[in-house]
Subunit: 255 residues, 2 copies
């Protein structure tokens, strides 16, 4: 309990986040991105609001411009991809450019590479020892290789399995101001029929985010309506308000 | 043959595209996006370069700002989502705001809604008859409901099944300047070992886009190297140049 509480206190509290997904293969349709959804679900569970996600190709200038734009508008940015040793891995270079600092050899990274691969390090490994001046190296019990964090930008790898592994480091270090509370109702009515009740509940609950999602080619329900709020009581109240105006035969289930 | 050639001539030629994926549920991790990959693959096959993709929540101001930014930097923008009748469907409003024009009832849309649902149209259906002033309605043989195109912004629905259906309209009306040619080699070497050969081929073929993709937890190969060019001859030449410097035992296959 004490250790848990201690860990909680040490986490940095952030409200908003953005994702920067880097890789020409994601925009050419060669590869289907998996990382946005993993990140979104992780941040949601932490109570951090992901407000924007941007996909760009492996181009240093474009990546640097995005980093600059995103890092100035949200509390924390997570990049994915472009951090290997090859010519198309330019995220670290772009990061240095975005913050207008040089790349420097980091003794901690160099030592890790030397212990793994022996001396002398090839050009490829030398490149992997670089970080922008002023970057933090965030370590974790679970993940051996440290994560580069430059100001509010966390640099995560593109390979989905390693990306998901690294999310443990995010969970160890960051949290939102409080959890999100969600309720949902599945109904047999379409959005057009639901609009009057939806509009009424939206008007009565300005602090609840109400979402309406029609289902296509699934006959178990037609529309899912979600209620997201900062407290369970508020989410519940909005759901109950909405259901009260709905014929009970049209409600498939709530969750 | 004549009809085919006629069809080809009538397509508008565009070089670059961007995607705007709209929906709070995509950023909260509730829903996994499927549309970016479908769009990317479709554009790739048409020879159109997708240079950027942005995910935003259902907020009119944020969507309008993105539409404005994207439509001024690429030839064509495709939005996905936010076009139903409910309060959280604000793409059409955002589109009008982005181009600073009013929303008007479109007679063609109203007629379609009346023929489907009869008079009088409910508030929900009335909303679905609106389009920004000056928008085109792009029809298609395959898809009954017309697609709203405002200047260079194509408005597509968010539901993946309907989104994919609507891509037929895109294929009917747009094409790139020419097809892309891709080759790939799968090797047993890791990126660090491949770096010298990669750098040499990249330097010798400045017009070929060379990508290097390590595979994780798959033992059939370690790295996939791709060569993308405007001609088959150029893609082939780069692949051959690269393979020439590779021990043949390390090449799993080429494609």
């Amino acid at each position: 309990m004490t250790i848990e509480a201690e860990g909680q206190r040490m986490k940095r509290v952030v409200q908003t986040a953005a994702a920067l997904l880097i890789g020409s293969e994601l925009l050419s349709g060669k590869t289907r991105d998996e990382n946005l959804h993993s990140l979104a679900a992780t941040l949601r569970a932490l109570g951090i609001r992901l407000t924007r996600a941007v996909f760009v190709a492996d181009e240093e200038g474009a990546i640097a411009a995005e980093i600059r734009a995103l890092s100035s508008t949200v509390d924390v940015v997570f990049s994915s991809g472009g951090i290997g040793p090859t010519h198309d891995d330019v995220t670290i270079d772009a990061l240095a450019r975005a913050f207008d600092v040089p790349l420097l050899v980091r003794a901690e990274l160099e030592a890790l590479l030397l212990s793994e691969h022996g001396a002398p390090l090839s050009a490829a490994y030398q490149r992997m020892a670089l970080a922008p001046e002023g970057a933090q190296l965030v370590a974790s019990g679970e993940v051996r290789w440290p994560t580069i964090v430059m100001q509010n930008v966390w640099v995560l790898p593109g390979i989905p399995e390693i990306f998901r592994m690294k999310l443990a480091v995010v969970r160890e270090h960051l949290r939102g101001p409080g959890p999100f509370f969600s309720r949902a109702v599945y109904t047999q009515l379409d959005e057009v029929s639901l609009k009057p009740q939806l509009d009424a509940t939206v008007a009565r609950f300005p602090d609840v985010e109400v979402g309406s999602y029609p289902k296509w080619q699934d006959h178990s329900y037609r529309t899912k309506v979600t209620f997201d709020a900062a407290s369970a009581a508020l989410a519940n109240a909005a759901l109950e308000d909405f259901c009260q105006n709905l014929p009970s035969a049209e409600v498939v289930r709530t969750e």
